[in-house]
């Protein structure tokens, strides 16, 4: 299983719909899927450092977004992740902004 299919190998989001036929079985490569997913969430949390919001995995199937006072939201995929982060943080995360409020640091 390649890196793209490992991250995006499960689910129906555009980024998660690599054809299963190419992999034989969803069980194949599941460890790499989880490993790549952990890598991505760790990177995202580094980007979000200072925003008082963090993200963790929910069994490889969804994202849990949590703020500093324990409020949580769930997001099923990357497209719904950003609105959920913004809703809890109470501000926009615009990557085109010169001060995006998140990102590499």
């Amino acid at each position: 299983m390649c890196e793209v299919c490992a991250i995006f190998g499960v689910g129906e989001h555009w980024a998660e719909s690599a054809p299963l036929a190419a992999r034989g079985s969803p069980a194949l490569g599941i460890q790499r899927h989880r490993r790549e997913r952990r890598r991505r969430i760790a990177l995202l949390n580094r980007w979000l450092a200072g925003s008082l919001v963090s993200v963790r995995d929910w069994d490889g199937e969804a994202f849990v977004i949590e703020d500093e006072i324990g409020r949580t939201r769930m997001a099923s995929d990357l497209s719904s992740l950003w609105p959920a982060i913004e809703a809890l943080a109470g501000r926009a995360f615009d990557p085109l902004s010169e001060t995006p409020g998140f990102g590499p640091r």
Binding site: E3, V10, E12, W14, L43, W82, D94, P95, P100, G103
Partner: protein, 332 residues
């Protein structure tokens, strides 16, 4: 479980034929059906008016034709499109209808392609059984420049296209054709542009896949036309980290999806030998697919954006910050 529901059937290819009112979509479709063995083709025609006429023009062919009248596919009748496509698939399954192996949807002249594609991709049945093939957009040589200047729907039809076909070229001068083709390439350097009545034009190839190719299109392109639309290509020398890039892209589409009219990239990734192609129309991204190798002449990753109202330099700076490498301007 979604993954258990995955069909083992090969998805049926659905092609989209779009173009502004009166641009000649139905005539082109008729010529395509005449030039192609079409007994295995199902056609869905959407007409904005209450009483459809266009479908009568293609009735003589062998293709199975359905008509959705009185509304536009991208808004008023999107549910009916979904139901119509589901019905066609169900009839095929029950072996009652045409045993089609491909579908062509002709949109109304006012339809934006993106909501139609979204209807297909977001429905769990349709996304299972259908694969979006080619988006072909028809431009009327006589009126297209004026139409593109006045109607954003027409621009969206062009920017979503894989193939652009100019019709009625015999009614204008060769210089007018060159202007229109140039403008179409400015708006969408990803699409191949064809003139329908040129001697070499093959109607049967209307929906042929567009090769991953380099074009002569100048990028960043804005040309003589004073619009807010910009197309530009960027390149990264070093392999990209897919997790990092996908986070950046989804955050971009979250904030600016309506302004990113089209995006396509051939990516060379850090931990994957095979290049990956991804593309999308506004918020709607299609599943990534692998290439066996990079197209001739390409090194590293290439990304093409068609945007409305975004300064390309902002995207360059953002990618530079988030990818740890400032991309350079590229040609396709």
């Amino acid at each position: 479980m979604d993954r258990v529901r995955q069909s083992t059937d090969t998805p049926t290819t659905l092609h989209l034929l779009t173009g502004f009112l009166g641009s000649g979509k139905t005539s082109l479709l008729q010529r395509y059906l005449d030039a192609t063995p079409c007994a295995d083709t199902a056609v869905v025609i959407n007409e904005f008016g209450q009483i459809g006429l266009d479908h009568r023009l293609v009735r003589a062919s062998d293709a199975s034709v359905r008509v959705l009248e009185n509304g536009c596919l991208c808004c008023a009748v999107s549910d009916r499109l979904r139901d119509c496509l589901r019905e066609l698939l169900a009839e095929r399954k029950r072996q009652r209808g045409t045993a089609f192996s491909r579908l062509v949807v002709e949109t109304s002249g006012l339809a934006c392609p993106e909501p139609i594609l979204n209807t297909i991709r977001s429905d769990y049945v349709l996304s299972e059984y259908l694969r979006v093939g080619t988006v072909a957009t028809v431009l009327d040589a006589v009126t297209a420049l004026d139409t593109l200047a006045r109607f954003p729907e027409a621009v969206r039809q062009v920017t979503a296209a894989d193939r652009i076909v100019v019709t009625k070229a015999d009614l204008v001068t060769p210089q007018a054709i060159r202007l229109l083709v140039g403008h179409a390439r400015e708006l969408n350097p990803l699409a191949s542009v064809h003139v329908a009545n040129a001697p070499e034009h093959a109607y049967s190839r209307l929906f042929d896949p567009t090769p991953e190719r380099r074009s002569e299109a100048p990028l960043d392109a804005r040309g003589e036309h004073k619009t807010s639309y910009r197309s530009f290509a960027l390149a990264f020398e070093r392999p990209l980290d897919w997790g990092r890039f996908s986070l950046w892209l989804t955050s971009l589409l979250n904030r600016h999806g309506r302004s990113v009219l089209r995006f396509k990239a051939i990516l060379q990734l850090a931990r994957e030998a095979r290049p990956v192609v991804i593309h999308g129309v506004q918020h709607l991204m299609f599943p990534p697919r692998h290439l066996s190798q990079l197209p001739d002449g390409q090194r590293g990753s290439q990304l093409v954006f068609i945007v409305d109202g975004i300064d390309p330099e902002r995207i360059v700076r953002s990618l530079g910050r988030f990818m740890n490498e400032r991309p350079r301007a590229a040609s396709l």
